[in-house]
Amino acid sequence: MATSAAQIREEVDTGESPTQRTPRRLVTHGKVTPWLFLAPYLTLFVVFVIAPIVYGAWISLHRYDYTLPGKPFVGLDNYLTLLTPGSITFDIFWDSMQATAIFTVTSVPLLLVIPLLVALVMNRSFPGRNVFRAVFFAPYVLGVAVVAVLWRYLLDRNIGLVNYYLEAVGLPGDIAWTTSVPAAWVALVGVTVWWTLGFNAVIYLAGLQDIPRELYESARVDGANGWQQFRHVTLPGLRPVLSFVTMVTIIASVNMFGQSYLMTEGGPGRATRTAIYQIAETGLRNYQMGSASAMSYVLTVFLMLLSLGVFWLFRERRG
């Protein structure tokens, strides 16, 4: 870099470069240059993101069985079958949607409240705070396969740690955590909370540290107690973070797959087989891709409605 500091300073002072370019952008490049820079990304983007979205819709309009020759166009049949009570796919799909709903409704509130409590504790400065923060975050980096295989062992009916310690404190110690409902749901939700609690707590913590301190000062001057401060300063201050965490947590819960696949194998029966699990099995094990694609679009519509609901809940309210 042979440019003199004075030259740079002059440009900063005048807000424009000597050659009269607009200050925010470099426009001296050929017409092709930006596309050359974009080419590698766009190639992958078109082939593996844009094309699949269109292709998936096209597949869902065909009886697209990977193992059969000929993929006849069937219009909206795949969708209509999903909406016709009594058809085989109807039961299979809506049972799996119900499993996803049960999991989402039970796990999301816990994943919103418990990490917030952890973050409130972590928000006070005490020695070793970062060690605690790391401890709570650690399970998250391990990934679902490690976590699920580990907990299947801990929850083993006969030799698992969980039943052993339950018995030790005088509770029933022969619970079939992975092979009976509702115990399996308790296990799946509990493990998920343990696994991802740190992720939400870290985001909350950043939000808490962003709330201006003088707000607490003035609340205290006005005689607000701890709870009132939380209610009128902390919660409103966390609103944007709260809506982000709610959104991310709902999406993650609706996408639950690995815990169920490895811990309960979707059982007992199909009780804990989630929608994602069912779509993957229908499309990639049974090769009924038309039906599976239709399922994925129906699930997407539900997700979008949920997202709109969250946006509406967290909108700025007047008064």
């Binding site: 990304y41 400065s125 679902v144 396969a145 499309g283 891709m289």
Partner: protein, 307 residues
């Protein structure tokens, strides 16, 4: 929400090492007892809770060094006796579960994927941040729009596309399809926009072309952002589970998470072997986590503040 950048006059910095006088705003508890005895009690409770929280991971490591008999014994033991590496030797040497091979596959795939994500995102983000061309808004809008597309929509068609390319049952199937990261472009574009444009203009005046400016001025300044993106991509790819179990079939071509699934179906109650496999899959990410914890946690924390 705006990130506070300018110093807050009331913010006297972190009062570390003086636990008896936390800054007023940090004291959010309703309890006003500031007695040292109570502080110590709270501290002890916290430590106990943290230990209970982390105990499953400790037990995982402990069990991986047990014999087959001890791994299934009641009462469960917290110290392996005898201490043995039998479980590791078994899974590494058996034909159906080539764990070292899986480790290599996972490492190769995660590194290649992270490299692809960072390279393609950086190039695209620079064009979007610093150049002007027809269709720019449409390209950027389209990329951002896909942030809101649920991955489930892509599974079935991508399986067929990967099949057409002849990549099923090869590592390319777990490296390439996720390499076009909308998040990566968004994240790096934001970062590039924050770099004073004068630096680049100065380089241009010195006769550097667009490419040289990007390579010699912008990239060196962006190391922290590139590192964060590489780290996040590596972790995501390393831990990915759904996709690999459906697109990789042969034992020798699995990644570790998919391999763990194979290991579990082959040895349902050989928990010594399963825990050894789980430890092998955990070590690299835990090492990364210990050394790059700051980057990772800050990255996650910031993601919630862009609202």
């Amino acid at each position: 929400m705006s990130l506070q950048t300018d110093a807050d006059p009331l913010q006297t910095g972190e009062v570390r090492g003086t636990p008896d006088e936390p800054p007023p705003a940090e004291d959010r508890s309703a309890g006003h007892g500031r007695r040292p005895g109570r502080k110590i009690l709270t501290y002890v409770v916290l430590i106990v809770l943290a230990l209970i929280f982390i105990s499953p991971l400790i037990f995982m490591v402990v069990t991986s060094f047990k014999t087959r008999a001890e791994a299934g014994a009641i009462p469960p033991s917290w110290v392996p006796d005898p201490f043995t590496t039998q479980a590791y030797e078994t899974i590494m040497n058996s034909r159906g579960t080539p764990v070292l091979r899986w480790f290599g596959n996972s490492m190769l795939a995660a590194l290649a994927n992270a490299a692809l994500v960072v390279t393609t995102s950086a190039l695209a983000a620079y064009a979007l941040a610093r150049m002007r061309f027809a269709g720019q808004r449409i390209v950027f809008g389209l990329i951002i729009a896909t942030l809101f597309v649920p991955p489930v929509i892509l599974i079935i068609p991508n399986y067929l596309i990967v099949g057409e390319l002849g990549w099923l049952n090869t590592l390319l199937a777990v490296i390439v399809p996720t390499a076009a990261s909308a998040f990566g472009v968004f994240f790096l574009r934001q970062f590039f926009l924050g770099i004073p444009v004068e630096l680049e203009e100065a380089a241009r005046l010195d006769g550097a072309n667009q490419w040289q400016t990007f390579w010699r001025v912008v990239l060196p300044l962006s190391r922290p952002a590139l590192a964060t993106l590489a780290l996040l991509s590596f972790l995501t790819n390393w831990n990915d589970f759904l996709w690999p179990i459906y697109v990789l079939f042969s034992p020798e071509i699995q990644t570790l998470p998919a391999g763990l699934s194979t290991l579990q179906s082959a040895n349902a109650v050989r928990y010594d072997l399963l825990m050894a496999g789980a430890v092998v899959a955990s070590v690299p990410v835990l090492v990364l986590f210990v050394f790059l914890q700051r980057y990772l946690i800050e990255g996650v924390a910031r993601s919630g503040l862009k609202g």
